[in-house]
């Protein structure tokens, strides 16, 4: 079956959840990927939404993080203070799954403002939501974002959620408990932090994507792994399930 770059990205993100027990899910691309994973790659995955729905099993994709079906299908519905204080903050959740408007070479995320003046921004973005504490407290973080020079920038205009800060050791100095972003998945490929420097490094390209094209869509001098793998293309089952999910 033929597929779009977005479908490849979502499938790659869903595969990244294999073997995980619990996932704190942001709305949009992360929610689509997490729901696909629960249907195919990680059937026992516990989805936690910031609306307080723990173990939600929606039959179709929610438009918001608080759709009624999330509450109806959840193992437990708790208050918003509880989901952040008791469930997220102590580091119980395996993976935080986040999107981004801008992302830098150390995986720091901006969802607050575009422009240099916070008080009078060029673009006012929605803001932090649950992301800063998801990025800090989940055991690991996966970021899913469409890649262009506008999203992959040398410096984010605003650090809403911390990746590796200004590099190795910064998370430890900030006393953040989670490990930070272990994968960034885009419509072009997959990035992982360098073990020494924590800088995002291209480790996989999606089928048909050249490394040069990834460099071209990156706003900094991109680090590339010595051997870049090619992601397996989406299977028919993955595509069929994803499309059924999106059209339900």
């Amino acid at each position: 079956m033929t597929y779009s770059a977005d479908e490849m990205m979502t499938v790659a993100a869903a595969r990244a959840l294999v073997g995980r027990r619990s996932c704190f899910v942001g709305i949009g691309l992360p929610s689509t990927a997490a729901n696909l994973a629960r249907r195919l790659h990680a059937p026992d995955l516990v989805l936690v939404y910031e609306s307080g729905t723990i173990g939600a099993r929606p039959s179709r994709l929610p438009l918001s993080i608080g759709d009624g079906e999330l509450a109806e299908t959840a193992d437990s519905v708790v208050s918003v203070p509880e989901v952040f204080n008791y469930w997220l903050q102590p580091g119980r959740i395996d993976v935080g799954f986040l999107g981004a408007a801008q992302l830098d070479r150390f995986g720091n995320i901006n969802t607050t403002v575009i422009g240099s003046d916070y008080r009078r921004p060029d673009v006012r973005l929605p803001g932090a939501g649950g992301a800063p504490e998801i990025a800090a407290s989940c055991k690991e973080v996966i970021v899913i974002v469409r890649q262009t020079r506008r999203t992959f920038v040398e410096r984010v205009d605003f650090v809403t959620s911390v990746g590796y800060g200004d590099g190795r050791g910064h998370r430890e100095r900030l006393r953040l408990r989670g490990r930070g972003p272990v994968m960034v998945i885009t419509d072009l490929g997959v990035f992982r932090p360098d073990q020494q420097t924590c800088e995002l490094t291209l480790t996989e390209v999606h089928p048909g994507v050249r490394v040069a094209a990834v460099r071209e869509a990156t706003g900094w001098d991109l680090a590339v792994a010595p051997s870049v793998a090619v992601s397996p293309p989406p299977t028919d089952e993955e595509l069929t399930t994803l499309r059924a999910l999106e059209s339900a």
């Binding site: 709305i27 918001s64 759709d67 009624g68 939501g129």
Partner: protein, 271 residues
């Protein structure tokens, strides 16, 4: 004890110009009809508090009710921007809008502190983010037992909190269920509280997992069927996702928005 009032009367009595007003409901049970009544009554200089401003605050900001917004996520869920909020921040239309911006965890804990009668709350949060630099209502506190440095956020104690619930009885006791967000904390943190409800029932049948707010912690209750539309009321009606999608085009343009406001809010009779 809460008195049962009409919506217009309740807003007139409880919400005054210059007040700090929290209207909570996390996607579910958003008190939209009450927001429209505040617009109709022409309230000004409000400090609007809400974790997720959503469409109702977009409308109130565009209508000129707000001087300041205290919030943590200001988007149209699953759709995109809140264009009236953006226009106010980016271009000061219809007037300048001061922002006090937090994360969800921070906002939730600010309400918890307010409800608990404490001056501030402690959490692990914000470390390393630029919110630390730009949000004045953030500080650190050292744990007296372990010497660990943690984040402190000040209590929120709104002049008035407005929420929507499924049911009240005739004595003004209120029950809400499904996703109950931060409503209990927002109610208990406030000086005054108005609850709009889907229906008045003779007895509240206890439901597992529901929140019951006794009449004596509330100020007024108003019966407003479909008062949460286009959000939803679990057990009564679903979220009107199409309205949220359509709001994007309506709100993008000042003139379209103003015409919408005239037709759908200002010229309507109070519920």
């Amino acid at each position: 004890m809460a008195v049962v009032v009409g919506l217009a009367e309740g807003i007139a009595e409880l919400v005054r110009d210059g007040n700090t007003v929290a209207m909570e409901g996390f996607t579910h049970l958003i008190p939209v009809a009450a927001g429209h009544e505040i617009i109709r009554q022409g309230r000004r200089d409000l400090t609007l508090v809400r974790m997720t401003p959503d469409i109702v605050y977009d409308q109130m900001i565009g209508a000129g009710c707000a001087r300041k917004l205290v919030f943590s996520w200001g988007g149209n869920p699953g759709v995109g921007s809140l264009h009236r909020l953006r226009d106010a921040v980016e271009h000061e239309w219809p007037g300048p809008l001061e922002v006090d911006e937090h994360s969800h965890a921070g906002m939730a804990n600010r309400y918890v502190a307010g409800a608990s009668g404490l001056p501030f709350a402690v959490l692990r949060g914000y470390s390393g983010t630029d919110l630390v630099e730009h949000t004045a209502s953030l500080a650190t506190v050292t744990c007296p037992f372990t010497a660990e440095v943690l984040t402190a956020v000040p209590a929120l104690n709104p002049d008035v909190t407005v929420i929507h619930a499924q049911q009240a009885d005739r004595a003004g006791n209120v029950q809400l269920w499904g996703i109950t967000g931060v409503q209990k904390e927002a109610v208990l943190a406030a000086r005054r509280c108005l609850v709009t409800v889907e229906e008045l029932v003779s007895t509240l049948d206890p439901r597992p997992g529901a929140i019951v707010l006794p009449s004596w912690v509330l100020t007024a209750v108003a019966v407003v069927p479909r008062g949460a539309h286009p959000s939803y009321a679990h057990g009564y009606y679903d979220r009107d996702n199409e309205y949220y999608r359509q709001w994007d085009a309506i709100s993008r343009d000042r003139e379209t928005f103003t015409a919408w406001l005239d037709e759908h809010v200002l010229s309507k009779a109070p519920a």
